[in-house]
Amino acid sequence: MIVLHVFRKELLDALRDRRSWAVALVIAFLSGPVVFSVMSRLISDDEARVAERKVMVVAPEQSPTLVNFLLRSGAQVEQAPAEYEAALRAGTLLNAVIVPPIDFESRLALGEVPGVEMVFDDSYTRAIPMIETTRRLLSGFNHELGVLRVFARGVSPQVLEAIEVQNRNLAPAQANGARLLFVIPWVALTIAVFGAYSVAIDTTAGERERGSLEPLLMTPVATRALAAGKWAVVVVYSMAIVALTLMGFLLSMRFISSETFAAQMRLQWREILIFCWVLVPFTAMTSAVNMLAATFGRNFKEAQTYVTYIALAVQSTAVAPVVMSTRDALWQLLVPALAQTAVMMKALRGEPLSPSDMFLPAVTCTAITLLCLGMQARLLRRETIIFGK
């Protein structure tokens, strides 16, 4: 009953803080459309570039055999700009540039092996598909010429093929397009940890700063009831913002311009429900952790610093799978943020979820939540917290 009174008061107080409420609402509702439109635009642009099969050649008139092959292969051949190296470094030019030597044609005619330079900057990850296209075209040219030469000598072209490579990609059907998808769980987790930070701070360090903690602790209410009531409000507030973010994601899916992106990712009601299932215990945990950290803050600003560290920890943990390549390891499911990212990515890729995926992350989050709430209840009876200036 006391928990309910604390909850009601804190909720009323939080809802009347219209400015932070409005900011959180706008961020939550816009993050989906913004993330989706940026991702979709990037993928669409890349698709368009790859589909164009545009190839940049330095002095194409000096290598007509190569240009002829490229045109027959459906590529558009363009003269590379004079300052192509600078343009590649600046990222204004993404396509690889083919640089044949001046005596390319004559050496080719003599049956020599002229070196052909392929210049690119693959530090721009968006350039990689275009670089691969150019590489494939060059290797196609090389192969065709080789086949013709051995054929002219009366040798079967099969001697050039010691093995026949057959590609069999085991990645799930939707996995290829899902490489960029970590952004979606990442945004969801960021909103979960950051969405209600102002409420988490206001109910803890805010009480210290405005001098209302001391009178509150002079009531006969147990500190665990105070901690639970305040925490419940932070969770409700965070979840509301997370739910709005997810709705924004769902709505944005309808306006995606990249068909590849839309086809390679599942984000329908089923996935949204899985996201909610994963994010409720996570939000409960981040709310408790944020409140515990903020309790050490003597004022709003100090608490804000502590909460920012937690958000940074969550954000960097959530991108770890992209760097670590440790997909589907069981231990991942026990690490908060990592677990949620893994499960949400699986859902987005349309992979089946095991009971461990569904329950292990929740168990860890619940344990950490209870631990933090217990610690906070104890902390509220510590003299240095009540009177520490």
Binding site: K9, R16, D17, E214, P215, M218, T219, P220, E383
Partner: protein, 258 residues
């Protein structure tokens, strides 16, 4: 009744090599009877606020015993807090809530039925002349207005023991008079009232008994007349100065509450 026996409390301040122990209360003993207004009178740094914080269970004593209505505050802090209404020197309000919401929140935390809380707030509002404050958000209240809401919050549950830390700070003359009337009325209803102050007129106008504190010790206890007599001075102010100057003198007890 509030009983304090041989109370001592020290704090650690600073960190590492700069860590120091500050003794806030050396040895404080006194008794505040029911139906009496007892003042803790002392200069700044005398240990009044620390003594009241130990009473309110927020600070743990290093030594000594404190009991409120026979309840040991160390052994049963929640029961002790339930029997007290405390106005500390932290009087923060929730700025986005109205005066009424601030006070009724505390009534709910103390388990009061809504109707009883409303009735009690009506009475306090009339006594403290704060009807115009009840339905406004408290952000932007003057310190006097804040004090009235904080006082109503401390008294909403009609506590048997009332502890006030410098309650007239920030109040104008009219509000101070209203507060005095309220405290006298509460005393006549048998409440045990203990408050700290360094304002002599307030003590003379209100208090039945005075505990003089200096340098963390209770150095004298009695009525205003008894303290004047003990110190051989004509006014309470002179008596207080003389007693405070002679702080090493052990406490001398005088007669019971008039």
């Amino acid at each position: 009744m509030i009983e304090v026996e041989s109370l001592a409390k020290s704090f650690q301040i600073g960190r590492g090599a700069n860590r120091q122990t500050v003794i806030a209360v050396h040895d404080v003993s006194f008794r505040a009877e029911d139906g009496c207004i007892t003042a803790l009178l002392g200069p700044n740094g005398a240990g009044k606020t620390t003594t009241l914080r130990v009473l309110s269970t927020l600070v743990h004593a290093d030594r000594g015993r404190v009991a409120v209505g026979g309840i040991d505050v160390e052994a049963q802090p929640e029961a002790a807090r339930a029997s007290m209404g405390t106005l500390s020197d932290s009087r923060g309000l929730y700025g986005r809530l109205t005066g009424r919401e601030n006070v009724t929140y505390y009534a709910r935390l103390r388990g009061m039925p809504v109707a009883l809380a409303d009735e009690r707030l009506r009475d306090l509002s009339a006594l403290l002349d704060m009807a115009s404050l009840l339905d406004r958000p408290t952000a932007g209240f003057s310190s006097g207005e804040q004090m009235k809401i904080a006082l109503a919050r401390a008294l909403i549950h009609d506590p048997k023991h009332i502890i006030l830390d410098e309650p007239t700070n920030g109040l104008d003359v009219m509000s101070t008079r209203a507060l005095r009337r309220l405290l006298l009325a509460l005393r006549d209803r048998g409440k045990c009232i203990l408050f700290s102050t360094h304002i002599m007129q307030e003590v003379e106008a209100l208090c039945d008994r005075i505990v003089v504190m200096a340098q963390g010790r209770s150095i004298a206890e009695g009525t205003a007349a008894e303290l004047r007599e003990q110190s051989g001075r004509d006014t309470l102010e002179d008596a207080f100065v003389a007693l405070a100057m002679n702080a090493a003198t052990p406490p001398r007890n005088a007669g019971d509450c008039a």
